[in-house]
């Protein structure tokens, strides 16, 4: 039986009826058309489906849509503001951290969840924060560089 859920997605409140067996990933992609969140495995193994829920990066393939009731969720579509890329997105573009791009939304959200809590992470902290996000294309190096660079940009923006 469907149940009504209300939640905030990228700052907007959303209300919908969902079956209990619908995952948050399916809900975002199929019901809301937010296809920036990717499906790579469905089992928590790859991180392509990463979204931020209540400030924490989570695998949306292992969360029921119904569990997101009352929660605040950020997906990749919610980062750019006023036609401008978020500094993390910009750094990914500038540093060549994107190849096929399939891991990118998840990577960027894991990076955001990290920087929101720890604005000046070490390389090890960055690598740990993205260790649940697999990338087969880049070897991670440019992704790590991008997150380092974004952390500097965000830091200097906040100071100025």
């Amino acid at each position: 039986m469907k149940k009504i859920i209300k939640l905030t997605i990228n700052g907007e409140s959303v209300e919908a009826a969902v079956e209990p067996n619908r995952t948050l990933l399916q809900f975002l992609r199929e019901d809301l058309g937010l296809t920036g969140t990717k499906h790579g495995c469905g089992l928590g193994d790859c991180g392509a489906c990463t979204v931020i829920m209540e400030g924490r990066a989570v695998n949306s393939c292992l969360i029921l849509a119904i569990q997101a009731h009352g929660k605040e969720i950020i997906t990749i579509e919610g980062l750019a503001e006023g036609g401008r890329l978020h500094p993390i997105q910009q750094a990914f573009v500038d540093k060549g951290a994107i190849q096929c791009g399939f891991c990118t939304p998840g990577m960027i959200l894991s990076a955001k969840a990290l920087l929101d809590r720890n604005p000046k992470p070490t390389e090890m902290e960055i690598r740990t924060a993205i260790s649940g996000n697999l990338c087969r294309c880049t070897g991670y190096q440019k992704i790590v560089e991008a997150i380092e660079s974004a952390s500097e940009t965000i830091g200097s923006e906040e100071v100025s």
Binding site: R29, G40, L85, Q89, G96, Q99, G101, S131, K142, V144
Partner: protein, 783 residues
């Protein structure tokens, strides 16, 4: 100093903002009105006769729109190489591996489609199966294909010079064996497609593929419709690395289901199905002997390969040839002998994967070189340098090294890794190792025999003259080919990359064989350059006429036009342009005439401006059997140094440092080149240390998930010192050649050589898990 205004830079990729914002569309992101969802029924047994297929209950299920089996789709054989078409879309008489396709269903949603699958009843008569390549080739082994006795799918025998005689004359001959394991490409995006069959008999297939062209050809053949009625459109692709280089049962079933239902039909493989479909790296067994003189001069190489092909051929014929031909360089040899065998087994078919056919045998060869160096007491780098080829050299098997910065690569990694201070000086448990490799920059011949162009490109200027639209069938799969083509077009036209738009991956746009064998930078690059030159020629002709100057005096760069380096007297043209352009806000005002003005004025005279370019390689290679495989207009090469730390109490290996130098000719985009290098190394690291697709005793994959099939995480991969070596490749556009696959060649042997340096143990079986290394260390202790 960079002599180019666009090339050889670090421009951000043109698709990066779309991908960073999640707006880039991949196949599974597409949705069409009335779209149905499809699934495939796959065999649960490895080898069986199909006695009966009953789909009646599935057809009756509410929401099911079509159920198809070989009865509906026919039995047209297809595959990769026409010489070995051994697949039909659906198995009809036999299933040959766990995962072999039997039927497909289209329904209103995925849950219904899956339920319908469970209602299809198939009666099997199980047959004895064989899963091991050595067993498969033994007398009395179960026969997988009637036409291939002994399960011998392909064999190759090549010899250049008299190898036995040469070996007999050598001062030192060392034998070596090596065994890798079946691997998976583990791209992040599972295969997915949507087929839309119009009522007028035309099919549009949106699919996650590396090769829209070959998919178009295969689909047309299997559906028996004209090639011109099939349009394959590739959305963004989440990685391919080889296995997405051929038409899949997913694409063919969707096409049929759409034809039967008149609706768009989508199907996406589960991760498990990606493993079952496979088409990834073979398991290879290598047996090799290298003969050298006392002074380290390499003389002769004897190489034997056995490949576990799985149940079908896929790319296998090329694979078994590559395992031999790609050892011809980058060291000078007097003679070389190769014997290769590919066996059928009751497992998913293997195909092409990054470094196609070459990776395992390169690993064996580079270990053999280190062993030889050790035996002779020569530094492994010195031994390699002593035998290294340089530009202009030809391998024994007639591969032409038209450019080759191999020596420069070796010297670069030697210097940047601090080799001199480390080799032989590290404490037990720490080790340093190196290896080299090279790879083709595009296969010299298409997969099917034909005189076709390998790439054609159309560039069209927008009517306002402000944008060049590059139209190509080439496949952006993450490697950055769209950006490469945009840069080549911008450089050639003399405009900014912001004024170039690339439309790609669509068979309606141009002919392009696709993203495999590291071909697009060179081949599509040539065609792009030629198309841009054609447009530049048209504009110059127009200008010369209008300005009364010679075409040679005109130069386009950075969006402006110079006449003998000067602004020139273009008043008449500009005032004409301004008049014709009145009412618009972007009137030109600068000191120089702009590209845009010229393009607009030329359009007013001639209509839409289009340039076309084309490329096919010249006739390449020798005349012996199989000489085509391994030929290429150019070869990229690389050298790597790896440092490892081995935990002697557990056998765990940490890769501490990697230094990589790659000769890619002119680096069109340096950031992208480094990205390919680093990505290749991480794949090589995974294959060396973790990756293995495992089977149980009944041929079922034990680890068909990204949790149990382990690719490196961010914590397993170190930073790489990446050094770009730029030779000038005469056969490449602007001197460019490959980087996407060659970069993986040295990784595995460099790690293995470093492990040897750290422990004194020669690992010749992959993956080098902590257990495998620890047990080897124990054995060493006892001995």
């Amino acid at each position: 100093m960079n002599e180019y205004s666009v090339l050889n830079s670090r421009l951000p990729r043109i698709d990066a903002p779309l991908k960073a914002t999640g707006l880039a569309k991949y196949a599974d992101d597409l949705k069409f009105p009335g779209m149905l969802y499809a699934t495939i029924l796959q065999s649960p047994v490895a080898h069986a006769r199909i006695l009966n297929i009953d789909t009646s209950r599935a057809k009756k299920l509410k929401g099911v729109k079509a159920v198809i089996t070989s009865k509906e789709t026919g039995l047209i054989k297809y595959g990769v190489s026409p010489a070995r078409y051994d697949e039909t879309l659906f198995a009809h008489d036999k299933v040959r591996y766990v995962g072999d396709e039997i039927a497909a269903v289209a329904a209103v949603d995925q849950a219904t489609a899956l339920e319908a699958l469970s209602l299809i009843k198939v009666d099997y008569q199980e047959l004895p199966a064989v899963f091991d390549m050595f067993e498969a080739m033994k007398e009395g082994a179960p026969q997988i294909h009637d036409d291939y006795p002994g399960n011998l799918n392909a064999e190759v025998h090549q010899e250049f010079g008299d190898t036995e005689a040469a070996l007999a004359e050598c001062d030192l001959v060392i034998n070596h064996t090596f065994l890798n394991k079946r691997q998976d490409a583990a791209f992040l995006e599972p295969h997915s497609c949507v087929a839309i069959y119009d009522l007028d008999g035309r099919l549009t297939l949106h699919t996650s593929t590396q090769v829209p062209h070959y998919v178009m050809r295969t689909v047309a053949m299997v559906l028996q419709i004209p090639v011109g009625n099939v349009r394959v459109v590739k959305p963004y692709v989440g990685g391919g690395f080889g296995p997405k280089c051929e038409a899949t049962p997913l694409e063919l079933s969707c096409a049929f289901l759409s034809r039967f239902t008149g609706k768009p039909v989508k199907m996406t493989y589960s991760r498990e199905q990606v493993f079952l479909h496979s088409r990834a790296r073979h398991q290879f067994f290598a047996e090799m002997s290298l003969g050298v003189r006392k002074d380290g001069t390499m003389v002769a190489l004897k190489n034997k390969a056995i490949l576990d092909g799985g149940a079908y051929t896929s790319f296998g014929i090329a694979t078994v040839y590559y395992a031999g031909s790609l050892l011809g360089g980058p060291y000078k040899l007097k003679s070389m002998k190769y014997d290769g065998y590919r066996a059928y087994t009751n497992k998913p078919a293997c195909g092409a994967q990054r470094g196609h056919g070459g990776v395992a045998h390169r690993a064996a060869f580079e270990q053999l070189i280190d062993r030889t160096a050790g035996e002779l007491g020569i530094d492994p780098i010195e031994l390699r340098l002593k035998n290294i080829m340089t530009a202009g050299d030809m391998t024994v098997n007639e591969l032409d090294m038209s450019s080759l910065g191999m020596k420069e690569c070796i010297e670069a990694v030697k210097e940047h890794s601090g080799w001199q201070n480390k080799k032989g000086k590290l404490r037990r448990g720490k080790g340093i190792g190196m290896a080299c490799g090279f790879f083709v920059s595009g296969a010299g011949y298409p997969i099917y025999r034909s005189d076709t162009y390998h790439s054609t490109v159309v560039i069209k200027l927008s009517e306002d003259g402000g944008t060049a639209i590059v139209q190509t069938g080439s496949a952006e799969i993450g490697q950055g080919s769209d950006t490469t083509m945009a840069m080549i077009a911008a450089e050639t036209l003399g405009i900014s990359i912001d004024n170039v738009k690339v439309v790609s991956g669509d068979t309606d746009l141009s002919v392009d064989l696709g993203a495999y064998s590291s071909r697009q930078t060179l081949m599509t690059g040539h065609a792009t350059r030629e198309a841009a030159e054609q447009i530049r020629g048209i504009l110059k002709r127009y200008l010369a006429q209008e300005m009364g100057c010679t075409e040679e005096s005109i130069c386009f760069s950075n969006g402006i036009v110079k006449f003998d380096g000067q602004p020139g007297n273009y008043d008449k043209l500009r005032s004409h342009y301004i008049k014709e352009h009145r009412g618009w806000t972007d009137q030109p005002s600068g000191e120089y005439l702009t590209f845009k003005e010229v393009a607009r004025m030329t359009y007013l005279k001639d209509g839409t401006l289009v340039g076309t370019g084309k490329y096919k390689p010249p006739r390449l290679g020798g005349s012996y059997k199989g000489a085509a495989v391994g030929t290429s207009p150019a070869y990229g090469c690389s050298a790597q140094v790896v440092e490892v730390d081995v935990d002697l109490q557990t056998g765990e290996i940490t890769i501490e440092n990697m230094t990589d130098a790659h000769d890619c000719g002119l680096a069109i985009n340096k950031t992208s080149v480094e990205g390919q290098m680093q990505g290749s190394l991480s794949m090589g690291l995974g294959e060396c240390l973790f990756e293995e697709v495992k089977f149980d005793s009944r041929g079922r994959i034990v680890n068909p998930s990204l949790g149990e099939y382990r690719i490196p995480t961010a914590l397993d991969m170190p930073n790489v010192k990446s050094i770009i070596v730029e030779s000038h490749e005469p056969n490449g556009p602007y001197g460019a050649k490959e980087v996407g696959e060659g970069a993986i060649m040295p990784t595995i042997p460099a790690i293995l050589n470093a492990i040897y340096d750290a422990t004194g143990v020669r690992m010749n079986e992959l993956p080098v898990t902590s257990e495998r290394l620890f047990l080897a260390l124990k054995k060493q202790e006892i001995a």
